[in-house]
């Protein structure tokens, strides 16, 4: 009896195995040679392969290898350079941008890149018509403010239309000039996709029903751009995106045959994987590991900082004294930023004198600098009658940001500084998401740490983001002069005039308004194996891997 049962079980098991093995085919592509495949450790999984709907750096990192934008940046800088457009020109009032496009460019599906393709893409964004698609096209919204027919509380879009005046000339027309152009044409979210592929794979069809929501096949299986690498597959279970060289690329063809992005969410795990040799590089190594990594023969590239960390001051928080600018100035003088940068921030970090790095147009050398001066800080507090100032100082935990590698240590230093000036600090630590909620939606905090990594090289992406309108985090709702000055600077077409207007904004931000204190710029690092050559670190963290090779 028992023996029979056993036999039956074995027979069933064998049958099942046979049945399953019968349909399990290895789908491995081609030969694998270590020298032509690079595995890069990514901090997060790409959310989609259609950058239109993306906001995070890890999604963009993969997208940048497959897609290109009208304008690009000179490798290793934040300076605009030709991309898919060889040249670009605004008309006199900045309402029409004419792009002369590169010739002989092909999409990965073999179709031609031309002016019609450009217009197809811009029209596509403008015409996105479902609530789900609109709410997720965050960068497009950032730039254009709204859609043809808004399905949410969006603004009016300045976009009028796009015209292909000949095969290789596209003209984008706007209702009014906006300062973010032309820089915004370089945004990865505004990457040019193949119109044929988008139609074939239903690119706009973001399906949404309550909590259920799905991207179309274009965004998950068939992304099609003009970049040096093309999409092969995404292994969801092992969180690995596989790209391969696009042999029809118009420019310098990729030296690697295959490029893999493997998601390893934990920073320490990325380091260990690199040390174990299973990945060839990763981004944002912890500054604390810099020396170890270098000692072990890895190549550490430090980028130019394109970010800022600031101390936000809430003028409508519990400490009413903060609405007095003398008190805010006292805080600025009490902070020993020099010391903080030297002791707690990575090599190459610098004290921020304003809310943008010096590579951005409108940076002013002559802003009020707020040197570390305890006496002055105390005097200012006394003058304002705020000697017994008590503040709730919020800082995030369980997070590192490129501009803030170690929030707790930064908090500690600044908090000690404030205490020395006689300010009583009540620390409030919260995990990242909760923290963001607290400092942006409630008014319980007085001081908070936050920062920004630039999306594109225009002051509106910096000053405009923080101070272009009222924000609960700063309690700046009433500062109409500030909003007006920023809006005015943003509307100027002439570059020289625009620059001086923004410089004036920066000067007034520091001396007249001081809604926050700029703290530092921290250059983020990227690390690869010692035998990897050709990687050009980008301040925008927009490295392209087509120049990369193993020596």
């Amino acid at each position: 009896m028992q023996a029979r049962r056993l036999k039956a079980a074995v027979a069933v098991a064998a049958a099942v195995t046979l049945a399953v093995t019968g349909c399990a085919e290895s789908k491995r592509g081609g030969e694998k040679s270590a020298k032509s495949t690079l595995v890069f450790g990514a901090a997060g999984a790409p959310e989609t392969f259609d950058p239109t709907f993306a906001t995070d750096g890890e999604t963009f990192r993969v997208a940048r290898q497959m897609y290109e934008t009208l304008l690009d940046h000179k490798p290793g800088t934040a300076e605009l350079s030709p991309g898919l457009a060889e040249s670009w020109e605004p008309n006199d009032d900045g309402t029409a941008w004419t792009f002369k496009l590169r010739e002989n460019v092909k999409f990965h599906d073999g179709t031609d890149f031309n002016a019609e393709a450009v217009c197809f893409n811009y029209d596509r964004w403008h015409n996105l018509d479902t609530e789900a698609a609109q709410a997720q096209a965050i960068y497009y919204l950032d730039v254009f403010g709204g859609f043809k027919s808004n399905k949410g509380e969006y603004g009016e879009t300045p976009y009028v239309g796009c015209e292909a005046t000949d095969t290789h000339t596209a003209v984008i027309k706007l209702k009014e000039f906006q300062g973010k152009f032309p820089a915004a044409f370089s945004l990865t979210s505004l990457s040019i996709s193949s119109p044929t592929a988008m139609q074939k794979y239903d690119a706009d069809n973001v399906v949404q029903e309550g909590e259920t929501f799905a991207y179309p096949d274009y965004a998950t299986k068939h992304p099609t751009g003009t970049g040096p690498f093309k999409f092969v597959k995404y292994d969801e279970a092992n969180e690995t995106a596989t790209l391969e060289r696009f042999d029809g690329y118009w420019g310098g063809k990729a030296k690697l045959k295959k490029l893999l992005f493997k998601t390893i969410p934990d920073e320490n795990a990325r380091k260990q994987e690199l040390q174990a040799g299973t990945i060839d590089g990763y981004d944002l190594p912890s500054p604390a590991d810099y020396q170890t990594l270098k000692d072990e023969g890895f190549k550490l590239e430090i980028r130019d900082a394109f970010n800022v960390l600031y101390l936000g001051i809430n003028q409508r928080g519990p400490a009413k004294e903060l609405s007095d600018i003398r008190v805010r100035k006292a805080i600025a003088h009490a902070m020993n930023r020099e010391q903080l940068v030297k002791t707690k921030l990575p090599e190459g970090a610098s004290v921020a004198t304003q809310f943008m790095p010096d590579s951005v147009l409108g940076y002013a050398d002559d802003v009020e600098k707020y040197d570390y001066d305890l006496d002055k800080a105390k005097a200012l507090l006394k003058e304002a009658g705020a000697e017994n100032l008590k503040v709730k100082f919020y800082y995030p935990t369980e997070v590192t940001r490129p501009y803030m590698p170690n929030p707790k240590e930064i908090f500690q230093v600044l908090s000690d500084d404030l205490a020395k000036a006689g300010i009583e600090v009540e620390p409030v630590a919260k995990p990242w998401t909760e923290y963001l909620d607290a400092i942006s939606q409630t008014r319980k905090h007085d001081l908070h740490l936050l920062g920004w990594t630039g999306d594109f090289n225009d002051p509106i992406n910096w000053n405009g983001t923080f101070f272009g309108r009222g924000q609960k985090g700063f309690g700046t709702e009433g500062m109409k002069d500030m909003f007006a000055a920023i809006a005015k600077a943003d509307s100027i077409v002439d570059q020289a005039e625009k620059e001086s207007a923004w410089q004036e904004v920066n000067r007034r931000l520091l001396s007249e308004w001081l809604p926050a204190v700029p703290v530092s710029h921290s250059p983020p690092g990227i690390v690869v194996k010692g035998n990897i050559k050709g990687l050009v670190a980008s301040p925008l963290t927009a490295e392209k891997f087509n120049t990369v090779y193993f020596s």
Partner: protein
Amino acid sequence: MLRVVVRRLLQMVLTLFALSVLMFAWLRNLPGGPAIAMLGERATPERVAALNHVFGYDQPVWVQYGRWLGRMLTGDFGTSTSSKMAVARELSQAFPGTIELSFFALAFAVALGVPLGYIAARYQGRPLDSGVIIGTLVGVSVPVFFLGYLLKAGVAVRLGWLPPSGRQSAALDATHVTNFFVLDGLLTREWDAAADAFMHLLLPALALGTIPLAVIVRITRASVLDVLNEDYVRTAEAKGLRRQTIRTRHVLRNALLPVVTAIGLQIGLLLAGAVLTETVFVFRGVGWLLADGIQERDYARLQAIILLAAVVYVFVNLIVDLSYALIDPRVRVK
């Protein structure tokens, strides 16, 4: 028997319903929502509102609950806000990972634990027994995450013998059919991929299996000692049965009952331990998804996982109860 099963199933539904209500209330009251987690520094009130509206998170909680319940019953768990993938799909990839990990952890614990416990009982009071007891005491008291870090730092990072994290090396470009990576490697005859996945499992399985191992050793030991003193064992010996026969047929079989109960309970604990182990080893299983989901305020994913965990826990207990009947004819009769 059938009545027992039906009654247990009904209890199960009630338990799950109560749990789902509690869970919903808890999740919606976490400060900071999925929209803020998605947007980070870009979380302006308008964008948060737009995203919340798209996901229906601006509706009253009871409306959300009703909708969720309706969809869930049709097998639709919604879409993860952090990965933008259907939760069901995410789980179909991660769950096999957790099962694989738990299976190896449990296999390790049982394969080593039962013989060790038996040996300890046989040599009761001798140095071997004391050694085993001290060993299990240490095993039980080491927290999973600490052991995990220890193994990772020592065996993986310092010695470089085993991979430090993940489920499989990306460079292998392995084919996945069932998402049980070891099995996939065998099925597709990608032997290197199977071996690689197995190597990735060893350390986490060891970390996860240590506490169950210690528990199983202790329970086996105690249980075997009990049985050895039973009258029927003495009778069997007096009858002149072969030692081997007494040990396997009478001692072990009877002693295994409490051990099976313990294993059942351990499966529940394994799931809890898997959260820690998977986080330490950045092993993309359900535990990792859960930990990540909490950080990302990923409502849809968390709702699905918490419910799934409850279902598994309740089911395992049901199966344990029923398996008594299989092992012990006396229960069957009752």
